[in-house]
């Protein structure tokens, strides 16, 4: 069946499994597990060694890629796995970043771990609050017509942007909240731009692992079931509202973690980080990388952040034009996303060698 752009937008794609042969998974034991996870392990080792080989601006670029990879993966819980597209995911990213910055600058809480915990609590509370009205307009099996949900989530983001601009004493208004220092771990390690890379790597890898376990758990398969057929899920006894609501909160909390890392990374949060401009970027990341594969948004983040950097160096001010062009080209030419394309190439490579 041909993939249509609407299928891409509404996440109606057949999901791909990360292991080379899904049928064989679980049979082969440790060896097969190792083989399936080998690429991830190799990439992790390379990531650990990377700072010794590349100049600091590349290292900082990769840090940004990792943050956006987590952002994209958090959105994909809703979009790729559950089939719920949202235009408001940046609200959680920006809110997490602002919460982190305000806690440090105005709250005087400098400890990173405490800060992270509070960010998770606050973004989860925001999700719990906004999720109730949002899913009232979503209805059952609305992946065919999620337009009201999209509008409501879009409104949430823009609302938060307005609040951030208005609450100047707290947020710094439209110029943004500046002066967010590098995190204080409460350990005898000082975090600078070099070691911040490893902190981000640690947090992102842990979060990606947690989300991976989540989407492959009993709960995660219920989300996949809702993606395919929410009415049937209800008829099978699943309280689908509760799944949608809780997954919205969970996705928001992981988005908030990415936002907090972003606040530390740039040292500044601006209102636009909560609005449509940032949602565009995460949409692009998921579409580029593929919503149909768990690691798709990771690939998408590498490509989008990389291209954004290149365009800022060579053709400054043309980034929106380039982004728009890429989004159209990807949807028309490789609607399944670059991630799935690469996965297909990788499988052919592995099969070709072993066969």
């Amino acid at each position: 069946m041909a993939t249509r752009p609407a299928d891409v937008l509404f996440g109606r794609l057949a999901r791909r499994s990360a292991s080379v042969s899904p049928a064989a998974a679980g049979k082969g034991g440790a060896a097969a597990m190792l083989k399936a996870w080998l690429p991830a392990i190799v990439i992790l080792v390379l990531m650990l060694l990377l700072p010794t080989f590349v100049p600091s601006y590349i290292q900082s670029l990769v840090t940004k890629m990792m943050i956006f990879a987590l952002f994209g993966v958090s959105m994909n819980i809703l979009w790729g796995f559950e089939g719920i597209p949202t235009f408001g995911h940046a609200a959680y990213f920006g809110f997490g970043g602002y919460a982190c910055g305000i806690l440090i600058v105005h709250g005087g809480i400098s400890n990173f771990w405490l800060n992270l915990l509070l960010v998770i609590v606050f973004t989860a509370l925001l999700g719990a609050g906004l999720g109730i009205p949002a899913f009232r307009v979503y209805g059952v099996g609305a992946s065919d017509n999620p337009i009201y949900f999209l509008l409501v989530t879009l409104a949430f983001g823009e609302l938060l942007v307005r609040v951030a601009i208005a609450a100047r004493s707290l947020t710094g208004g439209s110029t943004g909240l500046a002066g967010i220092p590098y995190p204080d771990l409460g350990l005898p390690i000082t975090i600078n731009s070099f070691s911040f890379y490893f902190l981000v790597l640690l947090i992102v890898v842990v979060c990606l692992f947690l989300v991976y376990r989540l989407v492959n758990s009993h709960y995660g398969y219920a989300l996949r079931g809702i993606h395919d057929n929410e009415r049937r899920m209800q008829a099978l006894g699943y309280n689908t509202w509760l799944y949608k609501y809780t997954s919205y909160i969970i996705a928001g909390a992981f988005g908030g973690i990415a936002g907090a890392l972003f606040a530390y990374f740039g040292g500044v949060m601006v209102p636009g980080n909560m609005g449509m401009a940032m949602t565009d970027i995460v949409f692009l990341i998921v579409i580029m990388g593929s919503a149909a594969w768990y690691f798709g948004p990771v690939i998408g983040a590498v490509v989008v952040v990389g291209v954004e950097y290149l365009s800022s160096v060579y053709v400054p001010d043309r980034w929106p034009l380039i982004m728009g062009t890429i989004i159209v080209v990807v949807i028309m030419v490789i609607p399944q996303g670059i991630g799935v394309m690469l996965l297909g190439l990788w499988r052919r490579l592995v099969r070709g060698r072993s066969a």
């Binding site: 057949a14 679980g26 758990s217 009993h218 219920a222 395919d228 008829a235 099978l236 006894g237 309280n239």
Partner: protein, 254 residues
């Protein structure tokens, strides 16, 4: 025998149209009751009222003696009700095995577990094997459902409706769109269900109707227009009129 499902004066109106109009009947435990009626008679609408997908305008639904009129769909399934859909309603992107696993998980305690691999759940897998073996699809467990033939998808449709281990199984045209051979196979499977499962079925296919039914209710213009044993229904004049399409029948309910 006690009534498992009791429908009292159930109605639903869409604007001025009474799609289901003051319907009352009861399904006894272990019974096989079949709903028949021409297109648009309100059979599927009635099913949607019984399973909670639609809210009734009036009347009551009692299941196992409890008033479930305002309970949501999933809560009714938890109580022991299950349905199949006239339009095949599966998880097309997932494998046959995953369909069975998701189907079985719905009424089990672990359905909110966020830790541990779902497809590696051994106890659930064994149940899924049992379920898929009863519908002869265990050999195709790794195939994506969307790639299966229609007849096989209809079998999964029935398999999923049995997955929650229901006391009341509600089948909405289980043989819809099947060949006569496949239809006969489905009839055989429904007949083979144990007496612990009560069956309420909508059907058009007369071989299926008379192959399964112990009692038949004829719905016409949203109301019960005849009720009786298969032999009584066969002899009933209204039924004959409706199915022969006489002029009298088309004005009878107005």
């Amino acid at each position: 025998m006690a009534a498992l499902l009791e429908v009292q004066n159930l109605s639903v109106h869409f604007g001025g149209l009474a799609a289901v109009d003051d319907v009352s009947f009861a399904v006894e435990e272990g019974e096989r009751l079949v709903l028949i009626g021409p297109n648009g008679a309100g059979k599927t609408t009635l099913f949607n009222l019984l399973t909670g997908q639609l809210k009734p305008s009036g009347g009551k639904v009692l299941f196992k003696g409890r008033d479930i009129t305002h309970k949501p769909v999933y809560a009714r399934t938890q109580l022991g009700m299950a349905r199949s859909f006239q339009i095949t309603s599966l998880f097309p992107n997932e494998s046959v095995l995953t369909n069975a696993l998701i189907g079985l998980q719905g009424v089990r305690a672990g359905r909110y577990r966020v830790w541990g691999a779902f497809t590696g759940d051994k106890a659930l897998r064994q149940e899924a094997q049992k379920l898929l073996e009863t519908i002869d699809l265990w050999d195709k467990r790794d195939e994506t459902v969307a790639s299966l033939a229609y007849g096989e998808q209809r079998k999964i449709e029935m398999g999923l409706s049995l997955a929650s281990g229901p006391d009341l199984l509600m089948l909405d045209e289980p043989s819809c769109g099947l060949t006569p051979t496949e239809s006969a196979d489905i009839t055989e499977r429904i007949r083979a269900l144990g007496r612990k499962i009560t069956v309420l079925m909508i059907a058009h296919d007369m071989d299926l109707v008379f192959g399964v039914a112990e009692r038949i209710i004829l719905l016409h213009f949203g109301a019960v227009s005849a009720e009786g044993t298969p032999d009584e229904i066969r002899a009933n004049q209204t039924v004959k009129d409706i199915y022969m399409g006489s002029h009298k029948a088309s004005t009878a309910g107005q």
